[in-house]
């Protein structure tokens, strides 16, 4: 047997026993890089120059005048929906209804903003936030209850409710004489639009030179820190972790899993609903069904959450990345930068993050012949049921 063969044989791919911390950074960053490369191939294949496209994107998202501000504007709703996805997916409760929950938050917050217009500004802003939270949470509790008590697939239910919420918004503005609709002028009666909120309902902004930071982003960051703490350091977070890993074990340990599922769905919906409130208070100041639906922030939140490996703190960073991507995509949209590229790139990023999981499961080692590891003193045919080491575990 030649030495080359034995050298080859000593290189093995084996299962990781522990996940090193650095991997939690490497996977998302490598995924982004890989996604840029793959998307570059797509661009090149359709006759575009990827390098100049990326340079333009960077300029549009960061260095251009108002670019960074716009990036934060795009990131703000994604921060909320990203948190919504992260918190639910961690527990393997697949809330993909962030979209609808954001709509309902926007409906509730704009309703509150209209109804309480006479309140002093701080109180009014707070009331809008509370309304947004309630709207989103209540909408999310529906699939939560159905999942927990009827074992109904929450993926499909939460998704269906996105459409229902969408049509509800349309009904309020386009097909009824609801409280939200502007009926004050004859032209508004012909071309339906929502009522504008009073100036007191506009959320404050923080400015530094030409850079403007929306209040909503600050709220989102605080929420992210809060959720991170909840997940990491509380009994509540511990219960989430157990349910996410093995629901049967959670039941066995006396954790009230059903209530917990409903409650986590509510927390998830709360985040998305707050995002809806921020859309009204920070940016739109009017309930605009078409605009909200076209933006699709709820679905983007899944990408944001996954890129953060479902770690709430990391969602702040990943929302900025994806926000920058959306910002530049919209700024550059045109013949040289087709619409749809942003979504395609988001999809590729998500695929890459998922594929990166393989790094968390296996490692390549060189093993000296005869050397053994004491821990693995059993045949490799471990018949452990495995649905994969989820990214959740990396982020912990």
């Amino acid at each position: 047997m030649s030495s080359r063969v034995s050298a080859l044989r000593s290189v093995r791919i084996e299962r990781r026993l522990d996940i090193p911390r650095w991997l939690a950074w490497v996977v998302p960053v490598a995924s982004l890089v890989l996604a840029l490369i793959i998307a570059g191939v797509v661009l090149a294949a359709t006759g575009h120059n990827p390098v100049s496209a990326y340079r333009q994107m960077f300029q549009a998202a960061v260095t251009a005048k108002g670019g960074l501000t716009a990036t934060f504007v795009y990131s703000t709703p994604m921060l909320f929906t990203g948190l919504a996805a992260a918190i639910a997916f961690r527990m393997r409760t697949w809330n993909i209804g962030g979209e609808g929950q954001l709509y309902m938050g926007a409906v509730a917050a704009s309703g509150a903003g209209l109804a309480l217009a006479s309140w002093p500004r701080p109180l009014l802003v707070l009331a809008m936030m509370v309304a947004g939270v309630a709207g989103g949470a209540l909408w999310a509790v529906i699939p939560g209850i159905l999942r927990a008590y009827f074992r109904t697939n929450e993926i499909l239910v939460s998704l269906m409710l996105n459409y229902v919420a969408g049509y509800f918004m349309y009904y309020l503005i386009y097909d009824s004489t609801s409280y939200w609709r502007d009926l004050s002028t004859p032209s508004a009666r012909v071309f339906p639009t929502g009522k504008n909120l009073a100036a007191a309902a506009n959320w404050p902004v923080f400015t530094a030179g030409s850079f403007v930071l929306p209040f909503g982003f600050v709220v989102g960051a605080v929420l992210a820190i809060g959720l991170w703490f909840l997940v990491r350091s509380t009994r509540y977070g511990f219960e989430m972790r157990v349910i996410g890993d093995a629901r049967a074990a959670a039941e066995y340990a006396g954790i009230r899993t059903k209530r917990k599922i409903v409650s986590v769905m509510a927390v998830s919906g709360l985040a998305a609903g707050l995002g809806g409130a921020s859309q009204i208070g920070d940016f739109g100041h009017v309930l605009d069904p078409r605009g909200l639906q076209q933006a699709g922030y709820g679905y983007t939140g899944i990408v944001v959450g996954a890129l953060a490996l479902y770690n709430p703190l990391a969602v702040i960073i990943s929302s900025l990345f994806i926000g920058a991507l959306s910002n530049s995509g919209n700024a550059l949209q045109g013949p040289s930068f087709p619409a749809g590229l942003v979504g395609t790139m988001q999809g590729i990023i998500l695929f890459c993050v998922l594929g990166g999981e393989i790094l968390t499961r296996y490692r390549v080692t060189r093993r000296l012949p005869g050397a053994t590891t004491h821990l693995a003193a059993r045949p490799p045919a471990s018949e452990v049921p495995r649905d994969g080491v989820s990214a959740t575990e990396v982020a912990r």
Partner: protein
């Protein structure tokens, strides 16, 4: 008059239900092999835009162009499914997230939109379309004429496909092996059935069918393309598989039922009946999906009926 409404409703229901039949059948086969693919919506959109693009850009006799368009749509769906198959079968990632990724990648604001932009097929009227044929010259028969003998070829194709799928699943060896792979991959593997191959084949086949389902929109229902035109049909197709207890025959019924929910609003409005706001009718299929899902899941002994036991669980033999 009332009878006409009912007939019109049924005809529209079959039209609206056919993409659900095709896409649902595809998902059913994938799930029978144990692979849950939540990317149906994305695969349908890719099929819709690809089929439409081919039908616009290719010259030649209409029948051939349409056939090529169908093939293009099926291929597009299959390629999308292949990504999911690779990630979920070979890399063994979480199938739910992988399917969602596929929907985002290919969906409304993703690759399907990109393709539509690059080939500039948005907002134009198509050159070719599958039209209803007068089968056996019987379209003028009362009631059954317009319903049974006056449909487009894809409707007949989808019904035949359901029959073939029934035979395949329950009367062929391959179908038996497929079911065993979805129920107990370890048992199938021990008996020399190639689990990976079965899963790949049926996931990709499922994608091709989803692509055809999408193409039905742009090649038969109405010949134009716009971003996100399937409007959640991919998701309803997934729900239908659960509702149908993983049986093609029940899937066909369910798809037409949902087609009727979709058709309800437009049919009534076309006849000047405006009892309820249009948004209400638009939301009906989605609400009904929720209702049907809850009904199918109450009582868990019933729920187990038909659910492939290994659905969504990656398989690896390890060692050896």
């Amino acid at each position: 008059m009332n009878r006409n409404i009912v007939i019109a409703l049924i005809v529209t229901a079959i039209g609206n239900g056919t993409p659900l039949v095709l896409a649902g059948l595809g998902e059913l086969l994938a799930e029978r092999s144990g692979v849950l693919n939540l990317g149906v919506e994305g695969m349908m959109l890719m099929g819709a835009v690809s089929g439409f693009t081919v039908s616009q850009k290719l010259g030649g006799p209409a029948a051939l162009v349409l056939l090529a368009a169908l093939l293009g749509a099926a291929a597009a769906g299959a390629v999308m499914a292949l990504i999911h198959a690779f990630l979920s079968i070979t890399v063994r990632v979480n199938q739910i997230v992988s399917g969602l990724a596929l929907t985002i990648f290919a969906g409304t604001a993703g690759l399907s939109s990109y393709v539509g932009q690059v080939w500039k097929v948005g907002g134009i009227h198509g050159l070719h379309q599958y039209k209803a044929v007068d089968l056996f010259g019987l379209k003028n028969l009362p009631i059954v004429g317009p319903i049974v003998f006056h449909e487009d070829p894809l409707v007949y194709f989808s019904v035949i496909l359901v029959a073939v799928a029934m035979w395949y699943l329950f009367r062929t060896r391959t179908g038996l092996y497929l079911r065993s792979v979805g129920e107990s991959p370890a048992a199938a593997d021990a008996m020399g059935i190639n689990v990976t191959r079965y899963r790949y084949a049926h996931t990709v086949l499922g994608g091709a069918l989803a692509g055809l389902g999408g193409a039905y929109f742009t090649l038969a229902l109405a010949p134009f393309w716009t971003d996100g035109l399937t409007a959640g049909d991919g998701w309803i197709a997934i729900a239908l598989v659960i509702f149908a207890f993983w049986r093609p025959d029940l899937l066909l019924l369910g798809a037409y039922l949902f087609g009727a929910f979709v058709a309800l609003g437009p049919t009534l409005q076309a006849r000047g009946i405006h009892a309820l706001p249009s948004e209400f009718f638009s939301a009906v299929p989605y609400v009904m999906t929720v209702v049907v899902l809850v009904a199918a899941s109450t009582g868990w002994a019933k729920r187990r009926l038909g659910t492939p036991a290994a659905l969504g669980v990656p398989y690896s033999r390890e060692g050896g």
